[in-house]
Amino acid sequence: MTAAVFFGCAFIAFGPAFSLFIFTIAKDPLRVIILIAGAFFWLVSLLLSSLVWFIATKATNAQDLTLQKDLLIFGCMFSVILQEVFRFAYYRLLRKANEGLAAISEEDGPPLSVREMAYVSGLGFGIMSGAFSMINTLSDSLGPGTVGLFGDSQYYFITSGVTSIALTLLHTFWGVVFFEGCERKRWWVIAVVLCLHLMVTSLSLLNPFYVGSVPPVYAIMLLMAVWAFFSSGGSLHNITLLWTCRKSNTETSS
């Protein structure tokens, strides 16, 4: 639409990811490397799945619209499955690498715990996924026009940005939960993550429902947030501890 919408949507979509990066990742170079490698793994998975979809569309009749729509659905599902496969592959790679990193590091023990790796790789997946889905929309938001001539909602850009936050954070939480499940050999966790990812993707296929697809995605995100919090060592006790800590801090300081 204009520069205002461009910057607004860019801040909405990449604000949380940017702040997470600054406060948790940027100081530690090892985390940066794992983040970027995670992003790369996600990109490769998307490349392979889009190759499959591309071949499928070129091999069939381009004029048959229902077939093309079905191929798109198939492509999306295949891509989700491939992303989770690559997440598992990245988990294995990181486990292997961790032993090597432990050997060369100066401290005793591995420099990064599995939980930290889970969080960073999930964030890597999330940032790249958000960027990939948002950049195209952002570049078109710079022009003078807005979506709506063909009956779409005029809140398209805001909705895209908001969905992009959800996608980034969801990937982060899925990464945490997934790695934890792999560590504890709880394979049902992987299946649940896969199902939730498929569900979120199929919600996006409901478009052009734009504004209506946001609440379910956010519901799933909140659910995942809670699960990831508990899975990475948090508990209600810790939250109450936080409150009392603050209270005691204020008491002692006053």
Partner: protein, 699 residues
């Protein structure tokens, strides 16, 4: 569920509309308009005319203008300036355009939808080519600047105004329907309440590089910063087509001893406000089709009983823009760069606008100032007598226009500027033009009443002889007979000279309805058959190209003239390309053209053959560019600006509030996430206390 299914339907419709999968956001936003004709910028020695958009396009909320009073909305009352005003052709008048020009901060652009013709409309000036004709203050003060006769009284001069917003034209088709639908859905105020965002808007791109005048833009071209110069404007020009009864050696220029030539002239080009949409049915086509038919009528008799003088048929290009073609030919004649020079010219007969008669008379215009000379006056009277006697047995008569009246705008004026040559201009108007649509896009086949019965196929329409064709055929017969007599031909042969109505109607069909017909295909060269389209050819002279290929109209006239005045030979295609190797053929005297030929009824292969004709192309670029005098008052200095791209698109615009809201939400989200993340990361050891356990266990 109904809403969902309608949204599915919209999605599928969108998909179908784009016929590619609907997964680019730009396709959701913009609808590109493909069939638009822009108004572009032209420059001359002193002015720039035409339209200009800003470099990143001009965007405006669409407003469909219903009447002149409705102009108040975009110009003063409307709350969402700037506006893109959509006009029907009946509202495309000088007063409306001037009001918008004066309020151009609120007008982003104008789009004209061409519909039915108004009763009269001419965007040209009232006195065409007034500064480059022969009637200057020194020649005759009373006749200069149309003081005696205003030739184009309906002229409103819009074509010569400068607008700093883009003006585009659209035809009445699907794209215009989409625009109007968008307007009615989004831009109509409901029940007197304010307009609801999002509003339908249009963006026009037609940024022109050249500014100020020709001298400035040529100077900018010549500043050589790098090896490739930046060209911002190009001079107008093309080629003149000329042919003669007896061929001339094309390498021997200058005066020819004992040669006396009668020149028969017509002009080829015309223009309109939107240059690429030029038609010129009455303005130019009527004249040159008549001359082509006269040339064909003279072919047999000049071979059996050749006249004493030679006849040279000249078709000039670029006459609308200050006589580019004729001024170049006169310049070449004066400077010994043409096969004859001005001393060889005996007299000139020019065919002007001849198709719209008001009565049974056509008029003969002559120049009163040169006729003050006794010899010139005698010659002109002689020519008038030849012409008037040639109408014997035909359904019209030729009358001299008033004696103290100047010549209408015509190529003859440029010859008179150089030398007092006896000449006549043949026209259907006695004083002002009968052409109510002079140099406008309404001067088309309908203006000439060129109607065909509705049940004919295109090929049958080609053969159908219309009334217009019949009347032009008679004019052509009279012209041919008069030329023959003027050239000193045998009087006994005169009544054998008759123009062919079938040829005239085929030419009118090809030049006014569709140029891609079987006859034009047969006379054209195989490599030029792409010039023939399902539309009429373009009549705007266009930019002079550096290649030696003439444009579509010029090439078509060249090949037609070759077909009508030349002879078919037995040469093969390779011989046709190198005829000098043969003993009796010479490219100095003739040009040899390989043409496609007709398709015989029982086969699919064309019978191509080689035509030998004394038809030549002569460069028609203004002498001002040869002499590098870019502020010349003597010659045409018209140039056309260059541009990068020209396009138009429509889309919806959102309200300013929504945009600022988006930015505000974005900034809020950014700050909130920064705060929350900072807070969580400093308290991470408290929140995720489980982390310490494995470390303790490791001990």
């Amino acid at each position: 569920m109904v809403l969902e299914s309608s949204k599915w339907l919209m999605f599928l419709v969108c998909w179908h509309f784009k016929n590619v999968s609907c997964n680019s956001v730009a396709q959701k936003i913009y609808v590109e308009l493909n069939n638009t004709v822009p108004c572009v910028r032209l420059l001359n020695a002193t002015h720039q005319i035409g339209c200009q958009s800003s470099i990143s396009g001009d965007t405006g909320v669409i407003h469909v203008l219903e009447s002149e009073a409705d102009l108040e909305w975009p110009l003063s009352k409307g709350p969402n300036p700037p506006y893109m005003v959509l006009l029907e052709s009946s509202l495309f008048t000088r007063s409306i355009m001037m009001k918008m020009k004066n309020a151009s901060s609120r007008v982003a652009g104008v789009v004209v939808v061409l519909k039915t013709s108004p009763p009269e409309f001419s965007p040209h000036t009232t006195c065409p080519n007034e500064n480059t004709g022969v009637y200057t203050d020194t020649y005759d003060h009373n006749l200069a600047h149309c003081n005696t006769t205003v030739w184009n009284p309906q002229g409103n001069g819009l074509s010569y105004e400068e607008f700093d917003f883009p003006v585009f034209s659209l035809k009445e088709d699907n794209e215009t329907e989409v625009i109007k639908q968008c307007y009615f859905d989004h831009n109509r105020a409901v029940n007197g309440s304010g307009l609801q965002y999002p509003l339908c808007a249009m963006q026009l791109f037609s940024h022109m590089y050249a500014v100020t005048d020709t001298a400035t833009c040529i100077r900018r071209k010549n500043i050589d910063f790098s090896s490739s110069p930046v060209i911002v404007c190009d001079p107008l020009g093309d080629y003149n087509v000329w042919a003669s009864i007896r061929p001339y050696n094309n390498t021997a220029f200058g005066h020819k001893e004992n040669e006396s030539v009668v020149i028969a002239a017509a002009r080829l080009d015309s223009r309109s406000f939107f240059l690429q949409d030029s038609t010129g049915a009455e303005g130019s086509i009527s004249g040159f089709v008549t001359l082509l038919a006269a040339a064909q009528a003279l072919r047999e008799v000049t071979q059996e009983a050749p006249p004493t003088r030679n006849i040279l048929f000249a078709f000039f290009q670029g006459e609308v823009f200050d006589y580019i073609g004729s001024s170049r030919m006169v310049y070449d004649m004066k400077n010994d760069k043409f096969v004859i020079d001005l001393d060889n010219v005996h007299s000139i007969l020019e065919i002007g606008q001849v198709a719209v008669r008001s009565g049974a008379n056509l008029f003969l215009h002559s120049d009163p100032v040169s006729r003050r000379n006794y010899t010139v006056n005698n010659e002109v009277t002689n020519l008038v007598n030849n012409l008037q006697s040639s109408t014997a047995g035909l359904n019209f008569s030729l009358v001299e226009a008033g004696f103290s009246q100047p010549l209408p705008p015509s190529s003859l004026q440029r010859f008179l500027r150089a030398r007092a040559i006896p000449g006549i201009v043949l026209a259907d108007h006695q004083t002002a033009f009968n052409n109510r649509y002079y140099e406008s896009f309404y001067d088309n086949a309908a203006h000439l009443n060129l109607t065909y019965p509705s049940n004919l196929s295109p090929e049958e329409q080609l053969e159908f002889v219309t009334d217009t064709a019949k009347s032009l055929t008679e004019v052509a017969t009279a012209v041919a007979r008069a030329l023959y007599k003027q050239a000193g031909g045998n009087d006994a042969q005169v009544n054998n000279i008759n123009a062919d109505p079938k040829m005239v109607t085929q030419m009118l069909y090809g030049f006014l309805v569709r140029s891609n017909n079987s006859w034009f295909q047969a006379v054209m060269a195989p490599e030029l058959k792409d010039f023939l389209q399902p539309n009429p050819p373009q009549y705007y002279v266009g930019v002079a190209r550096s290649s030696h290929q003439a444009k579509a109209l010029t090439s078509l006239v060249q090949y037609l003239l070759a077909n009508l005045t030349g002879t078919a030979t037995n040469l093969t295609q390779s011989q046709c390309q190198k005829p000098d190797e043969l003993p009796n053929e010479s490219t100095h005297m003739y040009s040899y053209l390989w043409v496609q030929g007709m398709v015989p009824p029982n086969s699919t292969q064309r019978e191509s053959f080689c035509v030998r004709a004394a038809v030549r192309l002569a460069k028609a670029e203004s002498p001002a560019f040869e002499l590098e005098d870019y502020t010349s008052k003597e010659y045409s200095t018209w140039t056309e600006s260059q541009w990068k791209f020209i396009k138009a698109r429509i889309f919806l615009v959102a309200s300013r509030d929504l945009e600022v809201l988006t930015l505000g939400v974005g900034v809020a989200v950014l700050f909130t996430s920064l705060l929350v993340t900072y807070f969580v990361s400093t308290k991470a050891d408290v929140l995720f206390s489980d982390v310490r356990e494995p470390a303790r266990a490791a001990y």
